[in-house]
Symmetry: D2
Subunit: 345 residues, 4 copies
């Protein structure tokens, strides 16, 4: 089969690889129908993710058809359409029993990281019963690809951890795909105001069409001053960090109201300064963590009932074997006005 293979920093190719086979009786092999590229994949390509080694097939999102299952798989059979979770869960370790699938002792984020991933014609999924979700006949499969990673990530790490509530004023710093996923799913809880902060006017315009009530381009404007003006000097109930830089994290710390929540989604490569000399008395909560994808069944229902349309995040479409071109587009997201690209086999 064909697959997108990492060969060290800056090097990748769409090349022939052996089709995966069942290794454990809890495995499934899935034929990929649709996949996408994540910001994390770009980090991998730069060599930022040490666990990914030469020869690895990358990708951790997608939907497909069950090609084969091991004898201990009960929930799926050949021919079933399935959604692949970016998080693999064994369902029986200490962490899985606490619904912390991201820290699963035999799973977690392994797809396209420590085992071969979904940017390929076929992929092996360990612990299939706990790591795949059934797709009914009439489902919108483009929309569902967004549920492999970015929707649960924006929702769990941003919206749930940030405890967004009806009537709240919230800010989301970063209008990339993850920030947009937080924007879409924050609206599950009907906040009164959603302030989107980014440095790309195109993305801010898109954010307005997706439900942002205010936007701030913090290249041009003083975001702290503007947020404080909008909130009568109080700050926001929830500040969601969806970038992963010290400056954006510190911005969140400056705009969060007393009693508020700072929910970090961004992947950080450096430590940040936490201004406890002012924050210690502000009764705030800061959260940081990986997605567990425990919300996937719920997100599925909201897509099926048309309460959520994650397809709005898809800006570009390619065939699976055009993946090198898709990477090129996604790597130049600002110029290409790209959010999510979708690849169809």
């Amino acid at each position: 089969m064909k697959a997108l293979v990492y060969h060290g920093p800056g090097k990748k190719s769409w090349e022939e690889k052996a089709k995966p086979v069942i290794k454990e009786q809890t495995d499934a092999v899935v034929k990929i129908l649709k996949t996408t590229i994540c910001g994390t994949d770009l980090h991998i390509m730069k060599g930022d993710v040490a666990t990914v080694t030469d020869g690895r097939i990358i990708g951790h999102e997608g939907i497909g058809i069950i090609d084969e299952v091991g004898s201990s798989v009960n929930n799926f059979k050949k021919g079933d359409h399935v959604l692949i979770s970016c998080i693999t869960s064994c369902g029986k370790c200490e962490y899985c029993k606490k619904s912390m699938y991201s820290h699963c002792e035999s799973g977690g984020w392994i797809l396209g990281n420590t085992i071969d991933g979904t940017q390929a014609e076929y992929v092996r999924i360990p612990f299939a019963d706990n790591s795949l979700y059934p797709i009914p006949a009439n489902a919108d499969e483009d929309a569902l690809v967004m549920l492999s990673d970015i929707l649960p990530t924006g929702f769990e790490c941003g919206v749930l951890n940030g405890k967004v509530k009806p009537g709240d004023t919230i800010a989301i710093v970063g209008a990339g795909p993850i920030g947009m996923a937080a924007l879409l799913t924050a609206q599950f809880y009907t906040p009164a105001e959603i302030i989107m902060i980014d440095q790309d006017n195109n993305r801010l315009d898109v954010a307005k069409t997706l439900g942002a009530t205010h936007t701030i381009n913090d290249k041009d404007e003083n975001a702290v001053e503007k947020v404080m003006k909008l909130t009568h000097g109080k700050g926001v109930d929830t500040a969601i960090e969806a970038v992963g830089l010290p400056a954006t994290f510190e911005l969140c710390g400056k705009i969060v109201a007393a009693g508020g929540h700072l929910a970090n989604i961004g992947v950080h490569g450096k430590s940040v300064i936490l201004h406890l000399e002012s924050l210690w008395s502000r009764n705030i909560t800061i959260t940081a963590g990986l997605v567990d994808t425990v919300s996937t069944p719920m997100l599925f229902k909201t897509v099926q009932s048309h309460k959520l349309d994650p397809k709005k995040l898809i800006t570009h479409r390619f065939k699976l074997d055009e993946i090198m071109e898709a990477y090129d587009t996604f790597e130049h997201a600002a110029n290409e006005k790209a959010l999510k690209v979708i690849l169809t086999s």
Copy 2:
């Protein structure tokens, strides 16, 4: 001044009464701008509410202008527009400190019950700082009248107690004003499906325009069977009782899923049968209680930000001195297709 006065079962009149005055330094006197009639007022008129005695001015909803405040009132001054809560809170008893304002030792539901109420040109509001809410200049005052009682009641007793969550399937039994308030505010949490059950087709039609995804007329149809069919035999995550009869409560018990919530809003005059012989093993939660109106500030924000439009519940409009006619309309709600009437001074 003129006021609507209760004179025993079946007897009321719009008559001259003394204008109220400040009795305690925490009181305010409010000139009524708008008020409405509650289902509870009809119960009072039938003689069902023993605490209401001959000579009482009734009514516990409305907005107005501050006419006078006692010396210990800090939050308001003459001329301020205010929303009157149906629940009076002293802010300093054991219950108020636990946010259980409905059980306030010196307050709770006293307006139009044990002290004179809001269906009058003026009303005295005890503990004004904790029982009134400021209305800004640009607000939609018709909409805000709905926040005195029915919106917080539907929301707190139905939606919050019922723990409605994104993606849930819920049922609301009773499509009167309170059921409709639960319907509007349930959508704060984006349930996937909302099934409205009533015996009045007009109300069910209105429910559809307000967000119900399914309706069942349980005069014509077997509601249990239909709910079970819609939910693939599982039942609903939350069943909200908004009628107050044994039959509707028992219906809720039959349609709630394992792990689900039965939230009672209805005022019950009789005991009900609880089928613990089947429910004991279903991991359900049943709640019952008075509104505390702790959610009023939040509801206010959602009205101001156009996330909630409670004005949709207003079907009829009268001048305040046409209140006898307004009662007539509201007493024949089914024929008149009435939900909420609004009275303007």
Copy 3:
């Protein structure tokens, strides 16, 4: 092997049965070291539990040694000492993923009910990875037998559902083994007062030694009056029903404070009267449900750290092959002053 077999109402025998074998690759076969008899087993013996049929080996509690495991079992190997949960969990159905193991689509309470149980020399445990817990070398195995069922049941259905908090006043109605388990585990949350209500003075005396601060024999005293006197007319923050009769459930409804919790543990064979005509305005929460045994790992830690000593509930000890005598003792619990009997192989 030998096993205790049900042969219809009133008939049981300790007889020869075939040793169980691995049927699915997720099974384990466990050699029983210790088991006990549950009140539910007495119900079964009376013919009250329709799902239990002639020929069934009963029992759903115990500890043992792994004798054999299927190829998909990862957490255990031959020779490991294990605690058997009364609830079997597949770990991969919709309910297990929501931690509602009691409603597991392939499990739940099946041991000694729809499949053969633990009152035998060997037992087959399906989904072993999710239904057994490892026992370290130095553990107190007598104490751990109490963790198969009664401790998690008292804790989850009584204490957790009842939301017992530091400083609370609580009442437990029923001082049998389950009520005692609620008594022991309620103290995890340091309530100020624990009122134990029963009709057996011996059990009330034991309750005092286990931490009850007050006891009421409601055969001799008016329990409602006495609770109201102790609580200055307010009632208890949490009332735990640990009997399963209409009268005890209604007692709980009469003694629960405004804002309080009524947590039902009892197995009810009949419907009960719920006095909504008074309770509707009391802001109460009623819960009812099966144990999920999600708290077993936590209970394990509290036993290991000597914060909980469930061995205090053991009143009688037998050899496994004396089980007919043990049943005789447990069936006459009041006369024998029996709480839990323990059987050792």
Copy 4:
């Protein structure tokens, strides 16, 4: 009357001041029976707290007798014994209605800060109904002085924010009075292990008598290594910071387990480094904030029912007019082996 007055950094005196009088009708004047000295008072004396100016009577803890009340005070009358909260709450601003008394718009921590405090023969308490608590006749008044500040602070900011649960392993960094208050109140939730970390062996020995299961002197030992060894490499479920220095905060970040809580109590004068490059993926929650004293009524109940004995923290006793000597002792806490000093009028 006599009072302890601040006269700029390093200068204080026990001197004659005018007895306070009622200024607002919601005030009470309280005759001090017992007071104590807080670590914060030492900071004030060093000139670290800019809001405290020359001439201020300091102190924010104590119990006393009501000497006089304003006309709007309902809960108290002359002669009542009362506990003074370190936090003044108006009961009617936006923050008080959300139970965030620490951020009360007219109150918060003002006693001995922006208004005269409790280290005096008399003190004026604004908003007496919401800022004082009644003391019954038989109460242990020495114990209750500890409830003005350190017990609610340790409990709310450490134990509640840190979500301590039964069976948890927790660490408390800092064995001063606040850390000890966290230690005492953490036991309300029955953690399995409590690791106390400090550099003073005397305090660690005291911690053991108060319930610590392990102690680490991090002057002599590598605390991270030792905690990791005790927790089998996982870290603690909750790390409570009770010092207020960058090093102790960072230590907490290093020992908190995946999925755990870092609850900051310490008052920080400097920013800290937050190692998001490792913590971003650890699913942790960090909290920081002032005490709201919402738990005072509950703590009161646990003292009355002998579940909590805060008197154990009292190491030294003085008469009120020996306060200069008491300060001297408290300023040399390590040498004097002092935790809390108590001053009696």
